[in-house]
Symmetry: none
Subunit: 207 residues, 4 copies
Amino acid sequence: MQQESDKAMGTPQQHPQPRRSDTRRRIQQVALELFAEQGYEKTSLREIAERLDVTKAALYYHFKTKEDILSSVAEDLAQPLRDLIAWAEAQPHSLATKQELLRRYSDILWSSVDLFRFIQENQATVRELTVGENFRTSMKALGELIKDPAAPIAAQVRSVTALFAMHAGMFVTQNVEGDPEEKRAAILEVALDLVAQAEAEASILTG
Amino acid sequence: MQQESDKAMGTPQQHPQPRRSDTRRRIQQVALELFAEQGYEKTSLREIAERLDVTKAALYYHFKTKEDILSSVAEDLAQPLRDLIAWAEAQPHSLATKQELLRRYSDILWSSVDLFRFIQENQATVRELTVGENFRTSMKALGELIKDPAAPIAAQVRSVTALFAMHAGMFVTQNVEGDPEEKRAAILEVALDLVAQAEAEASILTG
Amino acid sequence: MQQESDKAMGTPQQHPQPRRSDTRRRIQQVALELFAEQGYEKTSLREIAERLDVTKAALYYHFKTKEDILSSVAEDLAQPLRDLIAWAEAQPHSLATKQELLRRYSDILWSSVDLFRFIQENQATVRELTVGENFRTSMKALGELIKDPAAPIAAQVRSVTALFAMHAGMFVTQNVEGDPEEKRAAILEVALDLVAQAEAEASILTG
Amino acid sequence: MQQESDKAMGTPQQHPQPRRSDTRRRIQQVALELFAEQGYEKTSLREIAERLDVTKAALYYHFKTKEDILSSVAEDLAQPLRDLIAWAEAQPHSLATKQELLRRYSDILWSSVDLFRFIQENQATVRELTVGENFRTSMKALGELIKDPAAPIAAQVRSVTALFAMHAGMFVTQNVEGDPEEKRAAILEVALDLVAQAEAEASILTG
DNA sequence: GATGAATGAGGCTTCATTCAT
DNA sequence: CATGAATGAAGCCTCATTCAT
C-alpha cells in the first residue's frame, strides 16, 4: 500500500516509470460524481467499483475507508478555504478585505462546485465526518472574518447573508434565465452589496 | 389499522374518552427528532422503535414504510407552504405582496424549524422522496412569485436571495449573539430590504 | 367463538335470526380464490382480510389459524373423495367398478376444480399440512383400487396413469381447442380406455 | 465476484490448479435439495447458508437473489428441454419423431428428477418466476409438437396425456412395486402406446 | 361479531470491510 | 496492483398470531 504517501511529488520521475496508475484519481472522480448525484450514504463502494470496472477490494488498496475517499476528494475545497482564511486573517479587517474575501470565496466555490454541492446536500451525513467538521470550522471562521461583532445585529446578519447568498446562488439560479457567468457575477454583486450595506449600517451608529 | 386516516377531529371530544392510543403521534415526534439529529438514512426504524419502547412491527402498524413516516411528518410544513403559495397567487404581484409573502414564509419556517432544518440537511436523500419533490416544487413556486422575470438578472438574484437568506438565517445565526426573536426579526428585515432593492433596481430601467 | 360448530344446520332457523352472518363463507371463498391464484404461502391473511374489507382479527374469530381456513375449504374435496373410496371398497374389483370409479372421480374433480388445482400446484407446501396428508392418503387408496397388484408392471402403470391423466387433463387442455364439456368427455374416455387396456393386458397372462 | 459468468472451461486445466472454490456448486446442490424437500418459499437462505456452514452474505457473493439460485439450478433442465424442442422442430412431424421425442424427454426428466419434482410441486410459487415461465413455455411447445391440431379431440388429449403420463409416472410409481428401471420403461411404453393410438385414431378419419 | 393495537420471529438483501493470494 | 471469497452487522419489511375491548 501507499495510501497518504503521495502528496506533492511535483516533478515527474525521470525514468519513465510506466506511468503511475491513475486509478486513484479515477476513484476520486467517480466517487465524487456518485456522491454528488445520489448522496454519500446511498452510494455504495460496490457502485463505485462497478463504474470503474474494478473490484471493491481495489478501492481498499487505494483508500483505507469509504470516508477516506471522501476526505481525499474534499481536500480540493478544504485546502483553498484554509488558505483563504489564513490570507484574510493577515489583512486589515476593512471593507475592501471583506469584499476581496467574497470574490475569492466565489472563485473557490465555483472551482469545486460539485463538491460544494455535495457537502451542502449531505450536511446531516457529513456532520460527523472529518470533512464536515472541517467545513463547519471554515465557515465559522469566514463568518467571524466578514462580520463585525460590535455592529448591530441586522448588520451582522447582512454580512453573514452575503456569504450564504453565494451558496444559495449556486443552486437556485437554475430557475433564473441567463448566461451562467452573468449569473455568477450577479450573485457576487449582491453579496458585495450586502457587506457594503452592513458596513454602512454599522458606521452610522459608531460614526 | 388506520394509516393515513387521521380522522381530523377538530374540537376535542366532550367525554374525554382517552382511548385511541397516541402512539402514532409519538412515532412522528420521535422520528422527526432522530431524523433531524442524525439524518434520515442514519436513523433506523429499530432506533425509533427502541426509543418508544415498542417493536419495529408496531411502527408498521401505523405507517406503511419508513418514507411514510417522514411524509406524514412533513405535512406540517408542506400544507402551510401550499396554502401560502395559493394565497400569493391570488394577490397582485406587488412589492407589498412579496413582502407579506416573506413575513408569512418566515412564520412558517420558524413554526417547523426542526423539520425544515432536516430537509435542508438531507437534501440529497430527500431528493428522490415525495417529500423532497414537494418541497422543491414549493420552492420553485415561491421563487416565481417573488422575482420578476422581466427584471435584470441582478434584481432577480436579489429577490431569490431574500428567500434563501431566511433559510440560511435559521442555521447561521447560531454564531451571532443576541436574543433569538431579535435575530429572527433582523433576518426578516434583511430579506424585506432585498426585495425592496430588487424592485427599485427593476423600476429604474422600466420606469 | 363458534369455530367448527356449524356443520350442517340444514333447515333455516324459524325465528328469523337476522340471517347468520355469511362472513365465514365469504372468507372461505376469497381465501380459495387467492390461494389458487397466488399459492398458499404467498397469500397473506392481510390480503384476504383486505379483500373482504374486514380486519385480520376478524378472520381469527371465524378460524383458529390460516391452515384452518384451508382445511375447512378443502373439505369440499376431501369428503366426496372419502365417500368415493368407501363406495369403491364395497364393490367387486371389476373393470366396471374401476370405470365407474373414474367417472365419479371425474365428477368430483370438476366440481372442485379450483381447489384441486390449488392442491396440485401447492403440493410442496400442502405436504405437511393436514390437507395434503389427507389428499395423499386418498390418492393412494384410489391407486390401490384401480390397479391390480398381481398384474404386470406395465398394466399397473397404465391403470395409475388413468387416474393422473384426469389430473393433467384439467390443466393442459387449455391448449387444446374445443368445447370444455367435450374435452372433459375426451379426457374421461382416454382414462376409461387405459384401465380397459390394463385389464386386457393382465388377463392375457393370467388367462 | 463472478455471478453469471461461469467461464465455461470445457477441458480440464492441465496444471490441476485446485483454486476456484466450489462454493457456488455446493450452494446449488444444497439449495436444490432443500427446495425439493421443503418447497421454495419454506426454504430460507439462512437454512441454505447454515447447511453449508457459510454466512448468508456468502450466498450473495455467488448469486444476486434467491431466485437467481433457483434459476441457475434450473438450467440443468431448461437447456436440455430447449435443445429437445429445437431438435423436434427440425424433424418431420411423424409418429417416429413423436416417439423419439418421448424417449428423449424421458431421459431428460430422469436426469433431473429432483429438479423436475420440485417444479411440479411448486408450480404456484414458480409460476411468476422466470423458471416457471420458461418451463411453461417448453411444455406448451412440446404439446404442440406431439399433438396434431387437426386430429379429433380425443386423439389430441391422448397425445398430451402421453407427455403427462411421464410426469405422473415419476411420482406415483412409488406405490407400484418393482425395479425402478423396469418401472421407467413401463411408463415410457404406456406413453409410446398413447401417441401411437392417437395417430391411429386420427388416420382412421383422414385416411 | 368484530376491531385496534401490538408482538416476536423471521424473511431477503446490502453494506463496509478483511485477507490470503 | 489488484482479485476472489467471504464475513458480521444491520437494514427494511411482512407475517401469523394474540388479546383487551
